[in-house]
Symmetry: C2
Subunit: 337 residues, 2 copies
DNA sequence: CTGAAAGCGCTTACAG
DNA sequence: CTGAAAGCGCTTACAG
């Protein structure tokens, strides 16, 4: 089986302590003879010794692992953030356990409990829907936690979001400046604060430009089965507002589905003002005239790890001390054609 | 801090053993009085007891966790497979630790060692490049392992791949049947067996149809910096073969980049026969005339988990018994416009 | 210069 | 009906 400290100790007729000291580089400090140290290193190499990190964690009380829970790993926004988080954590000696909540609250709760039971030192979480209770529990326990993308105004914890309102405002304003007058907003999950803020930015831009916010131009796609539901919504908007001349998509997934609809119906995209939050590579060929709010992926990931580790390492000294929470709102760069 | 068995035991003046038995549902079997059991459950709930899975794993010798290492989590193919694997593993009581090798061999090796040190019970791995040695070590140790997407013919281990040669053959054949005569192949990483097989399928289709395989129609994009390198390759092909009339892309990422190039140059995609392995949602609007080999994502994920868990659970009984390896070649469904 | 011992939080064979 | 004890593989304060 796997070789342990004990195996090396027995083979060399030394104590486990001696092996542990030398292998952890504290041999000189403890005054272990070079000869012994040599033998130990030699033997460890021969037996291909790898310390059991579970045992180490059990002893030390921390696992050097952080948990990351996202709603959809196949969504390029989340997977890119996950990539940055893993890279950033790795650079600081931490590894990451990723959990996919599939936007299901029960799965999210299960994952939170699982990752805690696996003794992750902290959690980065893009919450799904209205999953407050399990998160509140974390906050009550002073468990190191950073939320991103979505958050709950009432819960006192670290979070990182983008300037949803302002970015939406900028995008919609640009479309109006470019001549659009009847801009539809295509969105989802209105109970998410994030989505509401995007809608507010949309409304502010219209009002500032003396355009009215029409109910007919509001399209909310139910979250399940995007693909089939968006068609109905777009059908309705084209029917009720035949002279619609712009579309603001609050997510890239909605945009891609809409473009597929446009293509199916033989509608020329280029006739419309377009805007979307977050970009995917295919946009450049698919809808070159689209205005985009670029998600600051790197900053989201870097800040999430930085804040979490600060929390973790701070609490290592003084367990019950509650840090001041950090709340960060990042700007999106607006990219126009 | 976190509450442990000991805390409950002390509070209730019982032994840790009693707590452990009742909480693990073996109370009746051990004949622990209902009254005691009640008290234990009650107290566990009050203190919000969650077992420390690290301690449990240390004792039992298995962690109920599998490791998954993929080259790029932001690639929709890998992230979709990851999603299925996580779902499938979860259904069987296992959780998944995902590692992103970023197609770097050093990172892949580091991740393999890390996950082993964290005592994962087995590993699912889409190897990057020619990373044999660390994998061979796993095989020598009889460590439960399943490769997917890429594999090494010389290494005797479980793997799951698609019928790269046949799928490519079908796609290219279809383009020829539809009238294409000068079909370019755009590929990458020719040292990967996977990519070679795709090239072989391409060549077989051409030869069968009495077309010659021209060197000028072969475009290999270096792996780093796809975006910039593909332009040069396509420039060259258009220059050397002005009447090129079809493109076979061996990956969806190459196709998306090429479509961006086509758009930038004002070239009409619809004039060309197109084919690609794996599909992304934007294709339907971007290149509706494309022929696609659909990756059997679900089957890849399901088989990977099934085979790995079979291996893990089989070895639990007889440690050193080497199972017969399972090698699976899955068919891709060919989707034509 | 090196070792014996305790402890992290579990589980389980053994004992009464 | 319940408990004492050993052990999983580490680390570290203490001792000599």
């Amino acid at each position: 089986m796997r070789t342990s400290l004990k195996d090396i100790a027995e083979k060399l007729n030394l104590s486990k302590a001696t092996i542990s000291w030398t292998l952890s580089g504290k041999g000189d400090e403890k005054g272990i003879s070079m000869a012994t140290q040599e033998k130990v290193f030699q033997c460890a190499k021969e037996l291909n010794y790898q310390p059991n990190l579970l045992a180490r964690s059990l002893h030390s009380g921390y696992s050097k692992t952080i948990g990351l829970i996202i709603p959809d790993i196949t969504d390029s926004f989340y997977s890119k953030v996950a990539c940055i988080i893993e890279r950033e954590a790795d650079a600081r000696g931490y590894s990451v356990m990723i959990g996919n909540s599939e936007s299901k609250i029960e799965r999210e709760n299960k994952l939170i409990r699982l990752l805690k039971a696996k003794q992750v030192d902290g959690l980065i979480l893009a919450p799904t829907k209205v999953s407050k209770t399990e998160i509140e529990l974390l906050v009550d326990e002073a468990f190191p936690l950073v939320l991103f993308d979505r958050y709950f105004p009432q819960i006192n914890t670290n979070y990182i979001i983008i300037d949803n309102e302002e970015s939406s405002y900028q995008l919609v304003r640009k479309m109006v400046v470019d001549g659009a007058r009847k801009i539809a907003i295509i969105t989802t999950n209105s109970y998410l604060r994030t989505m509401n803020m995007r809608r507010e930015g949309y409304a502010r831009a219209l009002m500032e430009m003396n355009l009215s916010v029409e109910a007919e131009l509001y399209g909310e796609v139910p979250f399940v089965d995007y693909e089939h539901n968006i068609d109905k919504i777009l059908d309705r908007i084209f029917k009720e507002v035949p002279d619609v001349d712009g579309f603001f998509f609050t997510t890239h997934i909605l945009a891609i589905e809409a473009f597929r609809y446009f293509y199916d119906k033989g509608i020329d995209l280029k006739k419309y003002a377009l805007a979307c939050i977050h970009s995917v590579p295919s946009f450049r060929a698919l809808a070159p005239n689209i205005n985009i709010a670029l998600m600051p992926i790197d900053e989201i990931g870097e800040n999430a790890v930085r804040i979490l580790l600060k929390d973790i390492e701070h609490r290592q000294g003084n367990p019950k001390v509650m840090d001041k929470v950090e709340t960060i709102v990042l700007r999106c760069e607006i990219s126009t054609p």
